[in-house]
Symmetry: C2
């Protein structure tokens, strides 16, 4: 299926000439599903990847795991996190595992070195090998182990699409997004769990609902949504880590903004006051391009102060230096971007 | 200036759904400028980056440096290289510098760690710091120092667009490409020299001329073109390095193919027997997407054997594994790609 060309929303200019172009689509919606702003094809199914960890985390509420294990906001933030493997993350996941009486060797996400440079170098200096705890998805996987335990099912193989845990996760996401996920549009994520493709329109609406205590979701979901929104918005360092747009922006908006990156150029999020949700995907999968777009979206949608605008501008217009330190160009929002707001 | 959407030539499929799309343009031309095959906008100026090092190296002939310093094919291959900083490259550049009586501290390309993992780890194990010799462009920069010396000008500042060396390099490229480079379409490359934007059509024709002893270029250029073609095609390891498509493909075609990657999704090259030149640029700058396209182009244009086709297919259809080793998807040529050949 050939997708219609989405608009160019981000460009990289080298010297005085545009070198690279990134096409993308985005959707901003309220909790009734009304589209407030959009660009490109918002009905084409895209893989949301890690951008919907907070929707997947609804299974912690649906299964009763939150009450059973007395999970706090830090546990919930880690369940929604794509972290950098910094000490704060690794220790947090260890505590979460302790709380549910399970261990790191039950995590099925695989191991990789921390994406945080300082954490990586510290590990190398000590001669340590990365474990599943350092995987950026270790908190989400711990949450899925908690769901398995609360459901009373064998956690083994919890990453597979026909395991009870993934069936519950899928049904939670479907309820909020308002779409039936199909095995015809399914892939395996970097951390091995299934990712289901669905349109940006549904994800934007779903995040709006998460932020809106008066949405049409069942009471369990609206309450869980409020709790997850606050857990993420107020524990941004746990959700993302050092020098990440998610951390910087959520901290700058002091509880009013929840947002989350997904691999291959995805972001989802919502604003507390306006109850607007947003979702975006860059066609070619570029994360820096997605960062520029989300920075532009948040700056436009939130009633941002000058300081907040300045912070966001650092992500929506990012200069590149070469090996000698010369500024050779900049990634920036296209001239067309503003026309979609 | 808004460019018309180029076609999607490469897709990344995760599971059973296309996750990412890469739009691109390519041009295949003969030495008279006749287009044999193309996709997308071949008249839109693009930055060729390192893909035209062999055209820039014509200045070594124009200045008389090749004769004056008795440069051999290995020196010429290094002048055309984007290498990985492996011992073979570093030693080769040191020998080239000796030959012209200059030293590494005159290189203005800046230093970076070798892109080759083994070379990088060996350097780290010895506690060494990278120098300009390890910069992937150190051979080209040594060539530019040779040009300066042959011209009798002060080499200092040879990276600037108004230095005599860059003026000569620019004029050589203009002559072969058949376009006047403009300061309105100029940027600074990663290694600090100017890169001039010009259409794919001209680059494809220029490379066809490089491969054709009977092109309409002046005799100095046709002879230099033959020499540069052979120097690259027969010293692929010097031009690129270990585990690179340029190395693998040029070695597999045993002197019949010359090709070169450029940063941000560019390739240029030519075929010896058919005298066809090609040039391509991926809109979003993806190098893996460009590798898939060039593999598809070469497989189609060259009279490839089964073994050569098999090798190229490894680059035009590349699977991705996740942290657990599961195959999660593949980057591959789009269904549309073949329709442009």
């Amino acid at each position: 299926m050939q997708q219609t060309a989405n608009p160019v929303l981000v460009e990289f200019t080298r010297g005085n000439w545009v070198e690279n172009r990134h096409r993308a689509a985005f959707c901003v919606a309220d909790s009734s599903g009304k589209i407030v702003a959009s660009a490109g094809d918002v009905d084409h199914p895209i893989f949301p990847r890690s951008a919907i960890k907070s929707l997947q985390a609804l299974a912690l509420f649906e299964s009763g795991a939150v009450d059973q294990f007395a999970l706090d906001d830090r546990d919930l933030a880690l369940a929604c996190a794509s972290h950098k493997g910094e000490p704060i993350h690794v220790e947090g996941v260890e505590r979460f595992l302790d709380k549910i009486g399970m261990s790191a060797d039950q995590l099925e996400c695989g191991a990789h070195v921390p994406s945080d440079k300082a954490a990586r170098e510290a590990m190398r200096a000590k001669g340590e090998t990365p474990t599943a705890l350092h995987n950026n998805c270790s908190g989400k996987h711990t949450g899925m182990l908690a769901v398995a335990k609360a459901m009373g099912v064998d956690p083994k193989g919890y990453i597979e699409q026909d395991h009870a845990v993934q069936k519950l996760v899928r049904s939670c996401v479907e309820k909020v997004v308002g779409d039936t996920m199909s095995t015809d549009r399914c892939g395996r994520d970097g951390c091995s769990i299934p990712t289901w493709a669905s349109p940006l329109r549904g994800f934007a609406t779903g995040f709006a609902k998460l932020s809106d205590p008066n949405s049409d979701l069942p009471a369990l979901y609206t309450q869980a949504g409020q709790r997850l929104f606050d857990a993420c918005a107020q524990n941004a360092m746990l959700v993302a880590g050092t020098d990440r747009i998610d951390t910087d922006a959520m901290e700058a908006f002091k509880g009013q903004l929840m947002m989350k990156v997904g691999a291959d150029g995805v972001f989802c999020g919502a604003l507390r006051n306006s109850h607007l949700g947003f979702a975006l995907k860059v066609d070619d999968g570029s994360v820096p391009a997605a960062e520029a777009i989300v920075a532009g979206l948040v700056a436009s949608l939130a009633e941002a102060s000058d300081a907040q605008k300045k912070l966001l501008a650092q992500w929506s217009h990012k200069t590149t230096k070469n090996w000698r330190g010369f500024e050779v160009g900049a990634a920036h929002l296209s001239g067309e971007f503003a026309s979609f707001l």
